[in-house]
């Protein structure tokens, strides 16, 4: 079989049957390799970036921190579906570009999405999120059955 140069556009011709598979693959690649980085896709004019995330487990809750500097609260969406937490949104470039000449652009813009499978079930109706100083904090209280219990065993 001849070696053919891989053409991502050709993969898209199989749309829609394969399209979402490719999107999943891209998301996975981004999650794996581009932590805190940015990737612009010239062909589609869409840029992505991957905000850094911390997840800590406490006795009674999971605490998620996401660094989203310059993102507006209204542009962030948090969903929980079958124990998978997804944080997605967009960091918009300032709309007023007129009369500005840029000397340096190091900051990342565009869409972002991160998904995490939580180890135990959480109380989905008591999830609480706060955005302050560029950091998103999400509190996910554990469901009662998932909390560690101390059981005293009497020795006879």
């Amino acid at each position: 079989m001849a070696i053919v140069r891989w053409n991502p556009a050709r993969e898209l011709e199989r749309w829609p049957s394969d399209f979402f598979g490719i999107q999943r693959e891209i998301n996975r690649l981004f999650d794996d390799f581009f932590h805190g980085g940015t990737q612009a896709d010239g062909d589609f004019g869409v840029s992505y970036w991957t905000p850094a995330v911390d997840i800590a487990e406490h006795n009674d809750e999971y605490l998620v921190k996401v660094e989203l500097p310059g993102v507006e609260k209204e542009d962030v969406r948090i969903t929980l579906e079958s124990n998978i937490l997804t944080i997605r949104g967009e960091k918009k470039k300032e709309t007023e570009e007129k009369g500005k000449s840029f000397h340096r652009t190091e900051r990342s813009y565009g869409s972002f999405q991160r998904s995490f499978a939580l180890p135990t079930t959480v109380k989905s109706d008591e999830i609480d999120a706060l955005y302050k100083d560029g950091v998103l904090t999400i509190h996910l209280p554990k469901a009662e059955e998932a909390k560690p219990k101390q059981i005293e065993v009497k020795v006879k």
Binding site: H35, I55, H58, F102, R104, G134
Partner: protein, 133 residues
């Protein structure tokens, strides 16, 4: 390192290193955009986790530096499952060209972004010349 104290930049760098050793944090240079308008230069730095009160901004003729500490994101006893955010403080410095009115520098901090407005001096603003007939 500039032991004679004459090289101001070297001295600042060594100050930063000493601070680094004391706190066992990573010093992160915040990423930024710099653009120019008709009457100012604007610097925007992404500094998530800093607070308005933690930021120190120093302006001298020809030089500007930004430093900020970032509080702990987690309690000591937390079991960290995913850790991509480094424990850090921020430091970045810029040399300014001529024509900036360093006495009138303004700064604001919103949504983790520090915006520094460096106004141009009157003499350095672009002027439009009308062509006569």
């Amino acid at each position: 390192m500039g032991t004679n104290g004459n090289n101001a930049l070297e001295r600042r760098r060594s100050d930063a290193l000493v601070k680094h050793r004391e706190s066992a944090e990573t010093i992160v240079s915040p990423v930024g955009d710099i653009y120019e308008t008709s009457d100012a230069f604007v610097v925007k730095l992404d500094m998530p986790g800093a607070t308005k009160d933690s930021i120190s901004l120093k302006v001298e003729p020809g030089y500007i530096s930004v430093r900020a500490s970032v509080g702990l994101y987690h309690a000591e006893q937390a079991n960290i499952l995913v850790n991509e955010i480094v424990r850090k403080s921020y430091f970045r410095e810029f040399n300014l060209g001529q024509g900036i009115n360093h006495n009138d520098v303004q700064a604001s901090f919103e949504d983790g972004v520090l915006t520094i407005n460096l106004p141009k001096t009157e003499g350095s603003k672009a002027k439009e010349i009308q062509i006569k007939s």
